[in-house]
């Protein structure tokens, strides 16, 4: 099954809505800069993503000295190596803060604990949160359940050390975008089923939830739009190997498979109308709602995968980012 091509499993490309006019040139530039992810391009993709968050002008996570940046080695899953947590906390302490446990993007196969973390820096700068970003092991070198187990181990350590971190355990958010969104949803399911820790919110930003490629949107992008169906097939196959799409995949690895979504935390889910994850996000939001979970769901017309971040200046991105920011602010309110 691993050597199946995308065309074998998906058939013809399905129809897709148009991009927002302001996003279209950015999508084009991204398509030129980033290859479809495959075994051949994996090394280059990892380098590109790492460059993105560091050079040529390295980003200043201390925000000019207002943020304390620490790295901690903490126990990993049983029998596995320690994991590294990047911890960002406000230098000026103004009492207990909420916690944002962050899981980075990168299609399960790329990215680091720094990828996309600066997006959450404003909450640290203004003293309302501590951000903890986990360095989880990547597929295909470390297939399922290694990435998820690392995320869960990091979350457990964060909750157990809430007092030392200055965190109010009642305001424990898990956030992630793309693969990080899928891992966040899976980690939230694990936390529910193991009855620890208690998450207050999950924020799933264009999450990667479903390995089955049965939805309309999972088949509609052949190239570009931030993440195409070939990259997606590569990401899932790297994580699950032969099991991808079959009956042996756990609900924690592919949360779209979970039958019981009851008892999950207050949820925010967003997605663009022109991305492969659109339908799985939409269906997950609907099913959470049916299970009695309080859900905010936003489908942004004309958005592609990651356009909020790649084209933050565009009007639709501004609307999306502002809406999500308001939600996170409410979640962090004392």
């Amino acid at each position: 099954m691993a050597d199946q091509t995308a065309a074998d499993c998906f058939g013809a490309v399905t129809i897709r809505p148009p991009l927002d006019p302001e996003l279209a040139p950015v999508e084009e530039a991204m398509r030129a800069a980033f290859p479809t992810v495959s075994e051949e391009t994996l090394a280059a993709t990892r380098r590109l993503l790492a460059d993105w968050t560091s050079g040529p002008e390295p980003e200043d996570l201390t925000a000019g000295g207002r943020v304390r940046v620490e790295e901690r080695q903490v126990p990993g899953p049983e029998g596995a190596p320690d994991i590294t947590l990047l911890i960002l906390s406000p230098v000026e302490d103004r009492g207990p803060k909420g916690a944002i446990f962050h899981i980075h993007s990168g299609g399960m196969v790329a990215g680091t604990r720094r990828t996309g973390v600066s997006f959450f820096l404003p909450y640290v700068i203004d003293g309302s949160a501590v951000v903890v970003s986990v360095e989880y092991r990547l597929a295909p070198e470390h297939p399922d359940p290694a990435p998820l187990d690392d995320c869960y181990a990091g979350l457990v350590w964060t909750a157990k050390n809430a007092a030392e971190l200055g965190i109010d355990p009642e305001r424990l958010l898990i956030v992630g975008s793309s693969a990080g969104g899928g891992l966040a949803a899976g980690t939230a399911l694990l936390a529910r089923d193991r009855a620890f820790p208690r998450l207050s919110h999950q924020v799933l930003i264009c999450p990667m939830l479903d390995d089955r490629f049965e939805t309309h949107s999972s088949r509609m992008v052949d190239r570009g739009c931030g993440w195409d169906r070939h990259s997606n097939l590569y990401g899932w196959t790297s994580l699950l190997g032969e099991r991808r799409g079959g009956p042996e995949v756990s609900q924690y690895a592919a949360p779209a498979r979970a039958e019981d979504l009851g008892g999950l935390p207050r949820t925010y889910i967003d997605t663009g109308s022109v991305e492969v994850f659109r339908d799985e996000a939409l269906i997950y939001a609907g099913r959470l709602s049916e299970a009695g979970v309080s859900v905010d769901f936003h489908l942004w017309g004309g958005g592609f995968h990651g356009s909020d971040m790649a084209a933050g200046h565009a009007a639709v991105s501004r609307a999306s980012n502002a809406t999500r920011e308001e939600f996170i602010r409410r979640a962090l309110d004392r």
Partner: protein, 347 residues
Amino acid sequence: MAVEAPLRDLIVKLEVVDDTAASALRVIDHFDRLIAERASVAAMVRAVAALAGCPAGLHDAGRDISPRYDPQGHSLPQVQSGSWARVAVPDRPGAWVWLERTGEARPLDALILERSAKAIQTLTGASADRSADAAVRIACDPDAPDSDRCDAAKQLGLTGPVTVIVISSFQPPSPHSTRVGRHAVTLVAGTAVPPSDLRAGTAIAQEPAHLPTALEHARLALRLTDRMNGPGPSLVAYDDLGALAVLAERTTPQEAAGIADVRRLDQTLVTHPWVIDTLQAVLDHASLRQAATGLHLHHSTLQERLVWLATQLGYAVTKPGGRQRATVAVAFWRIAHSEDELTDDGG
């Protein structure tokens, strides 16, 4: 929410890992695609700011728009483009794009400006707006190049002195007026006296090149007008103001509202709406009897009002020092309320 501007990163990184030629192509493609997608002019300006990594703006005097954005796409308040690097929109008099780059220009700045200016030209239609409204706005724009302003004045047939008449845009505009910002502006050749049934500020430009200054002067004069049919003048010419013009020039409405004598007037007005009219009538007439007649009041009623006012204000308008103080206070009061919604039945 984003701390960084990743689109700029895309270009910066291309400048570093690629070469500048590839980055230049990326800029050209970006604007070409925005044109193909029929994106908005605002989107174009946001793209300029995001690609350049610094604030950017478009000023289009003819269409009376000045969108301005930071690299994250936040809308910024309108400002004059001043000495920033700018490129004119081709075939659009009084329109240009600018970049607020502090420090040295970056290699792609000129290209970004040039391509965006061309893109805005393409997006805003095949030919420039040659309407009289556009010409009035360009002729009065302090920031527009001299040549554009001269061409606009010529198009309007203005060569010698011009009278600028400004009314608040809250008032119904006359068919001959043009909306410029929050005002309606009429340009009349020569030194015309406008009809008296207007609440307007006026000023004279001795030649068309001085129109922007005259417009500013007429706006200042408008601040000192009374409502129509009020005791004070509803039509004020800048040249008649003399030293009073300096008050309006140097004091913003917010500052004027904070002056203690103005605050006291506002307090008395809450319960006694006649206060300003009464003061104005007393100040404008040689005797209290004439003032009472002008206000359609009995002489003794006016006396009672003035006694009460003196206790409220702490000075008497009928005394020499008090008269001067009241004159200045009422002028500042008009400035303080000059940006309120002006109506003809109220202050």
